[in-house]
Amino acid sequence: MVTQNKRLLAGLLLWYVLLSLWTAYAPTDRQFWLLSSILPGFLVLALIGTHRFLPLSPASYVLITLFLTLHMIGARYTYAGVPAGVWLEQAVPLGRNEYDRIVHFCFGFLLTYPIEELFRLTVPLRGWLLYYLPVMTVLGLSGLWEIIESWVARLVHPELGITYLGSQGDVWDAQKDMAAAMYGALLCTALLLWYRRRRPGLPRQIADASH
């Protein structure tokens, strides 16, 4: 069981490194790639560093890797130019490349469970707060991301203003992005509640986090 876990984690790490190398090879916009790779790099380092004393469940690591994969694809092509998004735009007339919106949604959908687990293992949360705080955390991080994005936009391309790559000229882009993340987090929370109702039994708590 333990070795199986280790193999899985090593596999996920290898996947992330290979993906980073592939995206680093010929990104559409080198500067954007570099900026977008900083935070995921820190996150992965933090996960490796905390694994010994705060091991998350394999499910959490898989979800985080899935999200990082989506993000690194966005970094490779720049979000507004991801082929899957271009294809979607043509298949369904959306008027813009929706890849970034989808990844914002996935930020909430995929990372709410790891955050919930983090709370479960480090704070003795019970009841509705255990489900409320992860959603709030996702929304808070989403807001922080939009703030950072606006700073970067003004620093790197001050002349572009609102038409810079991230918002594709939409004045409500920040709000829609945050709403997408919130919907993702709410959906994940609903699924989690539904799953736990069907399979009663306490999830891992602080007391048994040590093994």
Binding site: V123, L129, E146, M178
Partner: protein, 211 residues
């Protein structure tokens, strides 16, 4: 006894202020919109008083914020006289009153939120400083989302020129930065006051004014 008197005094103050500012607001529709949440908050505080009582400083801070908000609702945020005065004094390009209240939102309400989290959820350590900030940022983001939805329903043709943004494309981000900065400052003050021995470790006032 002292505490009860003070709390009744706060309620009386807010009630009187609210009535005065309910007379001939600049824009009745906007006034209603702004006051729905405020009234719901006050009603919730009164209804839950028996089950959960905040500390006296928390009630003071919440009253201060609600008072500022009532003033903003009376004049509509973009046309508060005090804001115009600030605008002229500092040569701002816009009325900064709403930005100021966003900052106050973080500064004044992060402490009550921290108290709620610490006492109701048993949040401890670093989390007790991180979560209030994250919570205020998240609520700020949620508010921007709601504002965007309302703006698009009420006046879709106005778009970014909508009252709240005063034509600033980065308005949402600036508002969130203001709340974020306010919440951070509040947590710094909490740390300082804990070091100075004004409050104990759990964030409760050292003086036994609590029931």
């Amino acid at each position: 006894m002292n505490r009860t008197k003070l709390l009744l005094g706060l309620l009386l103050w807010y009630g009187l202020l609210w009535i005065v500012l309910a007379i001939a607001p600049r824009d009745r529709q906007d006034w209603w919109l702004e006051n729905l949440l405020a009234l719901a908050a006050v009603a919730t505080l009164i209804a839950t008083y028996r089950r959960f009582q905040f500390s006296t400083p928390s009630y003071l801070l919440m009253t201060a914020f609600l008072s500022l908000h009532a003033i903003g609702a009376h004049y509509t945020y973009a046309e508060v006289p005090f804001g115009f005065w600030l605008q002229q004094l500092f040569g701002f390009s816009r009325n900064p009153f709403d930005r100021l209240v966003h900052f106050s939102y973080g500064l004044l309400l992060a402490y009550p939120l921290r108290e709620l989290l610490v006492r109701l959820a048993g949040v401890k350590g670093l989390w007790a400083y991180y979560l209030p900030v994250s919570g205020m940022l998240a609520q700020s983001g949620l508010f921007e989302i709601v504002e965007a939805v309302v703006a698009q329903i009420v006046s879709p043709e106005l778009g970014a020129a909508y009252l709240g943004t005063q034509g600033d494309e980065w308005d949402a981000q600036m508002d969130m930065i203001a709340a974020f900065a306010g919440a951070l400052l509040c947590m710094v003050l909490v740390v300082i006051s804990a070091r100075a021995g004004w409050t104990n470790r759990r964030g409760r006032p050292a003086s036994p004014d609590r029931p």
